[in-house]
Every structure is written in C-alpha cells, then in structure tokens.
Amino acid sequence: MLRQVEGSKAVADAVAACKPEVICAYPISPQTHIVEGLSKLVKDGTLQHCEFINVESEFAAMSVAIGASATGARTYTATASQGLLFMAEAIYNASGLGLPIVMTVANRAIGGPINIWNDHSDSMSQRDCGWLQLYAENNQEAADLHIQAYRIAEEMSIPVMVCMDGFILTHAYEQVDIPTTEEVSEFLPPFKPRQVLDPMDPVSIGAMVGPESFTEVKYLAHQRMIDSIAKIEEVADDFEKQFGRKTGGLLRSYRTEGAETIVLALGSVIGTLKDVVDELDLDGYSIGLVGLTSFRPFPFEAVRTALLGAKRVIILEKAFSTGTGGIVTQDVARAIEGLGLEDLTLIAGLGGRPITIASLRSYLVEAMDDQVERLTFLDLETETVTRELVKERALQ
C-alpha cells in the first residue's frame, strides 16, 4: 500500500519488517529519524523480540552489532559521516569476520570544515572495507534495498551498507510502498549464521592470522564479494517477482540505446539527471543515463555492457579523492578499457550544494561540445578560488 512518508520512516518500517533482533544506534544527523522510528517500534511492541541498544559512540554501535551478529542475531545499525569514520575500525572487523550486518549510511559530507549536508564522501571513504555498498535512487528503492540487503548479506555472509542521500532522501516525503512483515517473511528466510557463538559447540572467532594464511583469507573475501554480483541480481529479480517492482540490482540504464553520451551517477541525483536527459533529448542531443546501484562490488561487466556503443561517459560524483579526482571514475575507466570511450568526471553536490537542472544542462551541453576539462567541479566559484590560490601561492 502506498503511503506518504518521510524517507527515514520508510526505511525504519522496512527494516522493522525484516524483524531484526538487535538494533544499536548512536545519533548523528541525518540518520537520526531512522533510529528514532525504530526505537519507537521496539518500545511500543510493534517490533518484538528485538533489543534496541542506545550506545555511547558509533564505534560502540558497530561493536555491539558485531557481538550480536556473531551470536546469531539479525542486526541493524545506521550512521553517517563522522560516525561512519569513527566506526571504521569495527567496520573492517565486521566484514573480516563475515558478519552479515546491514547498516544504513545516510550520506553526509566529512569535515573539516564541519558540514552536515549531503555528499558521498563518507561511504566512499569506506570503499575498500569489504562491505557491499548499494546506493538508493529514491525512497522506494531505499526501503526495498534494506529488505534485499538482508537476503544478500545473510546468503553471502558479507555485511551490506545501504547508502541513501542524507536530507535529500532521509528527510523527503514521498509515496512509498512498504512491504508488510508477512510479505517480507516470504522473501527473507530466518537468519542461519555460518558460524555462531554457542556454548554447546564452542568455536574461537577472530583468531590471530599470520603471514602463512592472511593472503588466502583476504583472497576468499574478495571472491565472495565477486560472487555477490550474481547474488545482487538474483535477489533483485526475486524481489521483482514477489513485489512487482524493479529496485536494486547492479545498475539501471535510462535512454542509453544509441546514445553518444552517457552520464553515470549514484543516488538521488539520478532523478534530476533523468529530467535533464529528457530535456536534452527533446533538444536533439544524443544522451542517456546509467544509475549505478552497486558500487561495491563494482560490476565491471555490467558497466562495460551498459556503456557499449557510446562515445563519451560522464561520471557524476558526490565525492572525490583529493589530489586525484573521481573515485567511481577509476573503476569506470577500467570497465571501459579498450572501448575508445572518453571519460569525463563531474564533481557535484559537495557538502549539500544543490545540483540544479540549469547547471547540469549547461555543463552537459559544453561537455558534448568537447568544451570541458576532464575533471570539472560543478558551479565552482572560480573567481574566489583563483584569488585564494594567488594568495596561498605567494606564501609558499
């Protein structure tokens, strides 16, 4: 049933429908409404057999999740930005131990300077942590991805981050169809851990591994991640069969057939880009769009296939690697090796700066006319930064 709800509420209800047994949370904007919603559902008895733990830090939140998951409980937490960085050590530990925790990242910039608004620099900083990263385009997909995430995580024994744009999605009211607990139960079987702390069958989890085995442990983790590419598609197909809508999966193409230029992006900006692509198409430009849902694992084959036939790919990123440029770009460049495809990077929306149709349109028109640099920062105040650079360089 469609309901007009805030994105955070939609996610809270979708997570509750998955019947997690332990939820732990530390507040950080813009994640707060999600865990507030869940705390109410636990307290008012809607979500039973679930422990809601208020912890003293994000590091503790992920640590509680580790303990709970290793004891065989379906486990959930949510964070953003500084919180994600504060739990970084435990994030690597969770994936290293193969614990299928699902966590929402309400994407937000990282300071300094401190900034609470949306971009992707938080989750991108955890690119290599061994978690799956799925990015939601809208609140319907955000809700659905959590349900799919538990299936993928538990079948692969890998933790999953569901990334949704902070404020833009978490605080936006949209119509969302949230499956009921009964419907989700048909889709998501009870959690059967691969390894569990059981006094009657004691195992040691988290032993010290030396040089003689460490490479093998890491190689196996890599292969599990590669294998999850097929699992992500399979779960999205199953979801579509049961719920009648296509959400999740590796990526989705929009008007790419025969397109000379294809924009590739992640998250909520895909909605804006669809409007821009529609407009430019009406004006006679040959342009399409690929929305990437799965950033980790990176679906090289699917991306290559999606971009086949185009002349130019423009990767729009809400984060970048200081001193290098685009982060997603590096993977896309590898995916299109040998295709003779030009790749351009557009950094946009940093620290919550609005990505407007007008700015996108003007950049894309110039790009299609070969008038842009390979790396562009959308709406950069050139006068300000030029002035500052002159001052700074004089001091060097």
Partner: protein, 330 residues
C-alpha cells in the same frame, strides 16, 4: 567439553592454600573432574600471571554457569598467545574483535541472547589494562552505564606488554616501561592522579565490583562465582604480574602478587552497588621495598643508592590504601 587434569599450582601459599583446607572446602583446582576454559599448550611466557588468572577466572565462570558461557576478548597478550590461527586454546565459545571494543561486543552478545530468549547463557568480556583503562574505557563506561548483563574482567599487568612494555594509564608511578624509561630527573613513570578503574567502576554504581590477585586463586574464583550470582554489569580487576614487563623471575609471579597485597599497594576488596562491603585484610604487612626489589622495573629506585624520596612516596600511597580500604585488622 573434554576435561584435563592440571597441576597443583598454589604451592607455598599462606593465604588459602588447598593443603590448609578440609577436603570439602578445597577449590576445584585439585579436582580431577575440573574443566578448563583455557587448555595447555598456548604461547604465554613462563610465569605469565595473565594466563593463570584468565584460566582460573573463566573456569570459575564456567562452573558458575554450568558451561553456558560466551567469552569476548580484547586484543592483547591473552588473545595473541591463545589463538595463533589455526590453533586455539579456548574451550569456550570465544570471540575476539578489536582492542578497544570488547565491552561493546559483549553488550551485543548479551543483547542477542536476550532477544532470542536465552536466559541461561552468560557473557564474560576480558582484556588487559590497556584495553580496559585506556582504549576501551569509553565502551566499558557505556556498558556499565546501561547495566548490560556482562562480567568484565581486567587482567592488570600495568603496561602494554603485548607491544613491548609501554606505559598505560594503569602503570604505577616510578615504574620503568619502554616509554617511561629510567632516565632523567624523574626516572620511570611520573607521579600523578593515576587511573584506578575499580573506583571508576564503582562510580557507575553497578551491582558488583571486586579486585583480586593471582596470589589468592581461591578468592579470585569465589569472586567470579559471586559476580555470576548478579545480573547486570559487573567488574573484576585482577592483578597479574608479568615477568617480562616487570623484570621479575618467572618463579616469583605469585610471590610478587602477594607482596602487592601485603604491602597495601594493591587493595583487594568487593563493592556492591558502588559501596565497598568487604576488603581482604593484610596478614603480614611488608614495606613496599619488599615488593619493589623483586622487579627490575623499579631497579633505578635502589641503585646507586635507595631513592628515599620516591620510595617513601610509594609507601605513603600504600599506607593511604590501607586506611582507605581498611586493609588492617583493627
């Protein structure tokens, strides 16, 4: 769980050595049916106080719970010497995650058990003093404050031994470590307020706080058993001498632990809901010199001549403990 008969360790004890007790009062260390949480063959140093303390503590916890126990371990010597993959010395369900998060991981284990309606399995978390008083203090305080059903055991050897004997927040004043060397105007660790975790734990008013040493294993076992009769957050702080870090003879580990209590430097007591209820009385008071002299981490206090100022200061600390924790019989 298989059962291993172990050696009789508590030789020469004048505290509560088994030989002084009637058969029915003897601790289970001499019982051939005893179970071991930690089996032999691990890689601890000769004379390791932590290995001894951990085995007795966890064995007692297993007996108290009918083997329904899950242990969470912080990073440190205890984790490293017990689980070099693919070997493990643990006979309990055991989880190691990180250095600073054992209390929170244990909270998660306890929460999962509660969610599953398992009210019989109990949770113990354990770590060294670095994991407990320094890097994991926030997580420990959180666990205390929420009153999670976890017994946290700190094996205090007063420095970061696993990384090569660097100073921790639990390193006593004047002690030499690799980062507080016995050079300069104030050789060894500086005098300061110290960070005495049992009192910090008591300030959280949790159901049970106790200290113990490996010089009195019967007392240690009794405290673990008592801790298991409570629900909620409990804290046990065990002094475990480290021959490597303290520069003492392997055969002196238990003797040094006993001198720590008999000098007053390490008070042994129990507290319930934040109030001290009992303390172990000193049977034969000794000067701090007796304790210090056996350890090369204090050698600079005796060479080239006795450093009266510093040793007197340490004696005043011991005397203050004796008064504060009522360690002498009236």
């Amino acid at each position: 769980m298989s059962v291993t008969q172990i050696k009789f360790y508590q030789v020469g004890s004048f505290a509560v050595g088994n030989r002084l007790l009637r058969d029915d009062e003897r601790s289970v260390q001499s019982d051939p049916d005893r179970t071991n949480a930690l089996t032999s063959g691990h890689r601890a140093c000769q004379g390791c106080g932590e290995a001894l303390g951990a085995r007795y503590a966890l064995d007692a916890a297993m007996r108290a719970t009918g083997d329904q126990l899950i242990a969470v371990n912080a990073t440190g010597c205890l984790e490293v010497f017990s689980t070099p993959y693919p070997e493990s010395s643990w006979r309990v369900a055991w989880l190691h995650s990180l250095f600073g998060n054992a209390p929170a991981v244990a909270t998660g284990v306890a929460a999962a058990l509660r969610a599953k309606g398992n009210h019989t399995t109990r949770v113990v978390a354990q770590g060294g003093d670095g994991a407990t008083v320094d890097i994991g203090l926030g997580a420990l305080s959180g666990m205390f404050e929420r009153n999670d059903d976890v017994l946290y055991i700190c094996y205090d050897n007063e420095a970061y031994m696993n990384t090569g004997v660097q100073r921790s927040g639990a390193t006593p004043p004047a002690a030499r470590t690799a980062t507080t060397q016995s050079v300069g105007d104030h050789p060894g660790n500086l005098f300061g307020q110290g960070k005495y975790l049992p009192k910090i734990a008591m300030a959280h008013e949790i159901p049970y706080v106790a200290t113990a040493t490996i010089a009195d294993l019967r007392d240690l076992e009794a405290k673990v058993e008592r801790a298991m009769t409570y629900h909620g957050a409990r804290y046990l702080h065990i002094l475990v001498p480290c021959p490597l870090g303290w520069g003492s003879a392997s055969c002196d580990t238990i003797k040094i632990a006993r001198l720590a209590t008999q000098s007053g430097l390490f008070p042994v007591f129990e507290a319930v809901n934040g109030e001290m209820i009992t303390s172990s009385k000193i049977r034969k008071k000794v000067a701090v010199d007796e304790y210090l002299k056996l350890q090369s981490r204090y050698a600079h206090l005796f060479s080239p001549q006795r450093n009266n100022e510093v040793i007197d200061h340490l004696q005043r600390i011991a005397d203050r403990n004796i008064a504060r924790y009522e360690l002498m019989e009236e």
